[in-house]
Symmetry: C2
Subunit: 245 residues, 2 copies
């Protein structure tokens, strides 16, 4: 298919849509970010109610391509990967890439829950004590465990000299990991600084992704929304705590 890709996602946050945006940008795809166009929010809401030609999605991001309507971030990236040359060709690598992306999805959910541990139907302001407690266990236990895991995956991927998470070249998983690292740096600068010596390969990976010409151009454009306190990664002084030594 050579139809234009249409991304349907909330227009004012990076959120989960950003993982899709990064792949579309790096892949040089012809795409439109529908809800950021005039009338686009109406299209997004309509899609959530109807399914419009495919399975009705539960939530954005949603990718429309030809007559396909695909939801769930990792599912979208699995679809885009081969089409944008952002994943190796063999089944083993593709299953591995998707496995890593789903583990990134789990980490992103927990990062989100630091400010919404009780539920998304309540404001952060209505769950601050719980957020503080959740964040303590996240920063002390979960964050080092997840980042330690991805650091080891890089180390063990000898095909790439430790430079890529899957295969011997850049993939959508590297792009997603970049987004996680910059998001965590935004939300938890103290913890990320303290973890720097244990995340050297991840830091180097994020730095290399940021310097890829298409990503650098994108990050520099107004298509890249800034982080803010409506997204997944939020900076709240009271949650910016240090992990234990």
């Amino acid at each position: 298919m050579s139809e234009r890709y249409e991304l349907l996602y909330w227009p004012s946050i990076q959120g989960r849509g950003e993982f899709v945006r990064l792949s579309l940008e790096e892949g040089g795809a012809d795409y439109v970010d529908v809800a950021r166009q005039s009338g686009g929010m109406k299209a997004l809401r309509g899609m959530l109610e109807s399914g419009d030609g495919g399975l009705m999605p539960y939530a954005p991001p949603i990718l429309r391509h030809g007559d396909l309507v695909i939801a769930q971030t990792a599912n979208i990236l699995m679809y885009l990967g081969p089409r944008l040359s952002l994943v190796p060709d063999d089944e083993k690598s593709r299953l591995g890439a998707h496995q890593l992306e789903l583990t990134i999805t789990d980490l992103v959910k927990e990062a989100h829950d630091t400010h919404h541990p009780v539920g998304s139907s309540l404001y952060y302001e209505d769950q601050k004590p719980e957020a503080k407690r959740y964040t303590r266990q996240f920063v002390h236990h979960r964050l080092p465990k997840y980042l330690g895991y991805f650091e080891r995956v890089l180390e063990q991927n000898r095909d790439s000299g430790g430079n890529h998470l899957v295969g011997s070249g850049p993939s959508y998983v590297d792009l997603s990991m970049f987004q996680v690292m910059v998001g965590l740096d935004y939300a938890f600068p103290k913890a990320m600084k303290k973890l720097a010596s244990r995340t050297k390969r991840l830091r180097a990976l994020a730095g290399r992704v940021a310097e890829r010409p298409r990503i650098a151009a994108y990050l520099d454009s107004d298509r890249r929304l800034p982080f803010n306190e409506d997204g997944i990664f939020r900076r709240y002084a009271e949650l910016d705590i240090e992990p234990a030594d």
Copy 2:
């Protein structure tokens, strides 16, 4: 490949491994539940540390098949689906099946978090007030929203007369939905009773899955572990609350 499937998962709970077990059983697969064999826990722990022939997994369940090592429940089911004839052949249906399975994954995570809203590194007993608050929003908002969504997916899937979530016949998504329904019935009997009139198609689906000969035989065997208070779906009297009218 005709090699035997090896499932690596905790031997004393249904947990996320149960979604894989149900597909292996319905598909009539030749498989071994490694950790339930003598010495199996050692194999499971070894796998978590080494990756043994594939990408090191972050967590179980893990499926080993030939030289493939696959982790993340939905990823495993996506791999098994075509091999066990538990998903339609076309790309659109397969993407749709995986999308639904990932939404089931999200619901399962939230059901788990009702008893562990602060974190898995703490006991339930150490997060009871937070669990009560999380469960209130889960039962009042999230549970009706998720089940209403899946009920509508059934209704809109006219290929199957509203009898299956994907395509015109049973798939791994139907099996997973069965597991979610019986798990929720175990954990939240009051809420599920109250939601019965709004989940008629889902209830009928779960009933039909339970009566499929291979599933019925499995449920009746000692391979099916009972629900307990170490798994995802737990029955705690204080969390068994009713949703709002």
